[in-house]
């Protein structure tokens, strides 16, 4: 049996450019995710997921696998402690496609270990993050703090 894989889809009344910006801009991600994603977003570069407060606590690390702004971003996704252990690197793909008069954002998270802490965290986390992102882009207001 393959490793568990999750697909999250949300339709957002916005543009691909704005959604792309909302995934990588620290000021925006702090509003709806309370975290920041830091990188130069070039394939092969590292990226870091840190807390959005001034402490900037390191939460996740990974590499940019593919970046085609504003349509597709593929990154590896791991706890800092697992940085040296590639078997524990999971993978996240963001697909941003215009759909009728809105935009479909699909987040696919795979290469997850069954019953891992990462799996538990992301199954709770992605629906919250995506709902909050949608709310911010559509109404200008993010959902109340997630964590």
């Amino acid at each position: 049996m393959e490793k568990p894989e999750f697909v999250y889809v949300t339709y957002i009344a916005s543009t691909p450019e704005k959604i792309w910006h909302a995934l990588i801009d620290p000021e925006t991600t702090t509003k709806y995710w309370q975290q920041v994603n830091l990188s130069d977003w070039k394939p092969g570069s590292k990226w870091e997921h840190r807390s959005g407060d001034e402490k900037r606590i390191l939460r996740l690390v990974g590499e940019v696998i593919e970046a085609k702004p504003p349509r597709r971003l593929v990154i590896s996704w791991a706890f800092p402690a697992d940085e040296g252990d590639e078997a524990k690197h999971t993978r996240v793909t963001f697909d941003i496609e215009p759909y009728r008069d809105v935009v479909r954002l699909t987040v696919t998270h795979d290469r997850l270990e069954p019953d891992s802490d990462m799996l538990k965290g992301i199954t709770k986390g992605w629906p919250m993050v995506l709902s909050s992102l949608k709310s911010l882009l559509e109404s200008g207001k993010a959902l109340p703090k997630l964590w």
Partner: protein, 112 residues
């Protein structure tokens, strides 16, 4: 979420067969139509029709892998319902429930 979207989510969830389909996808994500038919012992046509309704409500997401179309439970619309009607009131709810519990339990201790 627009009003139409909420309607389609509730309508999709109102059917027990569709809820079974979601349960099956929750247990095994990324199933093909054929696998879903086998696991639920239903005809292709019936499953396909129900998947259509679930897809319209964005409760099921599909991904193409080569020739196969894989189906996934997409919990985002249900989370939006939670945010709209539950999350905001949860705190008040819990306080009220707690007060009620204290009142009805009065001197009688027992089942929570």
């Amino acid at each position: 979420m627009t009003r139409v979207d909420v309607d389609s989510v509730f309508k999709a969830l109102a059917d027990p067969t569709r809820r079974r389909l979601l349960d099956s996808l929750r247990a095994n994500s990324g199933q093909t139509l054929g696998e879903l038919c086998r696991n639920l012992d239903m005809t292709r046509q019936a499953v396909s029709q129900h998947l259509g309704r679930l897809g319209d409500a964005n409760l099921v997401a599909t991904i193409r892998r080569g020739r196969e179309k894989l189906h996934y439970l997409n919990p985002v619309p249900i989370h939006e319902i939670y945010e709209r009607w539950i999350a905001k009131y949860q705190r008040r709810h819990l306080v009220a429930l707690h007060a009620l519990k204290r009142k009805v339990e009065g001197g009688k201790r027992g089942k929570a």
